[in-house]
Symmetry: C2
Subunit: 251 residues, 2 copies
DNA sequence: GCAAAAGTGTTCAATCTACACCCATGG
DNA sequence: CCATGGGTGTAGATTGAACACTTTTGC
């Protein structure tokens, strides 16, 4: 969605930085799988990442927070800038122009746009997807089901996923991706979904507990079939310490 | 140097992306210390990182290569984008305007600029520092001697250094920072300079040799006092493999 | 009572860390 | 010949990987 332009809009669009956008890869976690939030464009069968332009009086980070809030209703979430995409031709302008001519002016396609990529980790349950004026659907997709996206958004998504996986290796993750109370298997499934590989539950638990980022509660999760698992919550103080120390730990 | 603008220049400047610049933290290595290339501005006692704007018909990466080539004469070097700096006020516009009013138009300071940070690792011996039209000196500085820089360039420098240190932890480094033939102590001193810590020479050698990225030559370095050290060169094929595999190795 | 997921400990291998002495060279 | 930096191996500690059985629950 980032490829709108100051010439295309009307009211809210004269005060943005031209030729510079941002795009967000918004990850959520549900049913043991990693999901991404995609927007379906009006009148098209095609999808893109949520994105937008940077206003003259807001920082790029704030713009990302705004886009995220607009699309998911969430703020105070985990958001990381991971790369800026600056190729001259980030997509086939001509083909795109045909597809989008019903809602964007011609000039939009004459100017290249540099886009700053962010990824976010959000609590799937708390998100209320909310399309914008160019799009009519805003939906979660399983990573493996992600279709071909508009612009170079498949590249952005892949690079964002790579950055997330790398970051996972030396920073704690989960505070914004899991619900407040969660079980150890929940957390393990999150790691497995992100890394796309199986992890041994004994070794996993040992590692996580050693970091001290989680606290076991006195409750167990009831109402599930089979043995009731313990509930945990994050020790936010410790979590932040580990984040800042870069307390390298690998899964 | 990135804060010039299409309005400030004359000939070469109308075809750049407005409000978007790039800045390069150029690291070199000499006398066991890590150096950074800084530019001194004409008529001022102040310094900045080398930087520039992105032309409409070049990619951001190409623009960084160009800036690097202009300032150092080098190409085919190691260059990495590490962060995009997008605060609204990246520096004190008013103070800066006073300092630079003799060579930049007033409007330059009215528009904020977002800057993409790159760091480069170059062979100190092969660089011919070359100031640009805003600057009259282009010199290497020891990291610890870096003065207060213009704009937010101290921030950019620090973040670039941090990114380099992190990258050092899981990627081979040195191909562009050391001369073609080097000794194991040379390489160790490079790591020590970058990480700013002492490393045990036996453990260091073991680790480096295990990765296979260097090949011991049949020659030794002559003409130095004390025992002649062996010379090594990089096994470039293996080096690139390890780079791509992200063959995590820690020092 | 049975099917399915949760919980838990040990062993072995690999890796990391710490550490000290002899050697070769130029001066 | 001596001062200086280069070269090298081992032992102990730590960490990582592999692995299986018992428990609890809902149905």
């Amino acid at each position: 969605m980032s490829e709108k332009n100051k010439k295309s809009g009307a009211d809210d669009s004269l005060d943005v930085i031209p030729q510079l956008s941002l795009d967000c890869v918004i990850f959520g976690f549900h049913d043991s799988t990693l999901k991404v939030l995609l927007l379906k464009w009006k009148g098209l069968e095609e999808y893109s990442l949520p994105g937008g332009f940077v206003k003259q009086d807001e920082s790029v980070d704030d713009a990302a927070v705004r886009v995220l809030k607009e699309r998911t209703g969430l703020d105070k979430i985990f958001l990381r800038q991971f790369h800026t995409f600056g190729k001259v031709k980030r997509y086939d302008n001509l083909a795109l122009q045909k597809k989008l001519s019903h809602m964007l002016d011609e000039e939009v396609f004459q100017e290249r746009v540099v886009s700053i990529g962010y990824y976010a980790l959000v609590d799937y349950e708390k998100v209320f997807p909310n399309p914008d004026k160019f799009t009519d659907k805003c939906e979660w997709y399983d990573l493996i089901d992600v279709p071909e996206l508009l612009f170079d958004h498949n590249d952005i998504l892949n690079k964002g996923l790579k950055a997330l996986r790398l970051e996972l290796s030396f920073q704690p993750i989960g505070l914004n991706l899991l619900p407040e109370k969660f079980t150890m298997p929940d957390m393990q499934r999150m790691y497995e979904a992100i890394l796309d590989k199986k992890i041994d539950p004994r070794n996993f638990q040992k590692k996580i507990l050693k970091t001290g980022i989680v606290i076991r509660l006195k409750e167990v999760k009831k109402g599930v079939a089979h043995k009731s698992p313990y509930l945990y919550k994050f020790d936010q103080k410790r979590y932040k310490e580990v984040l800042e120390d870069g307390g390298l730990f690998f899964i």
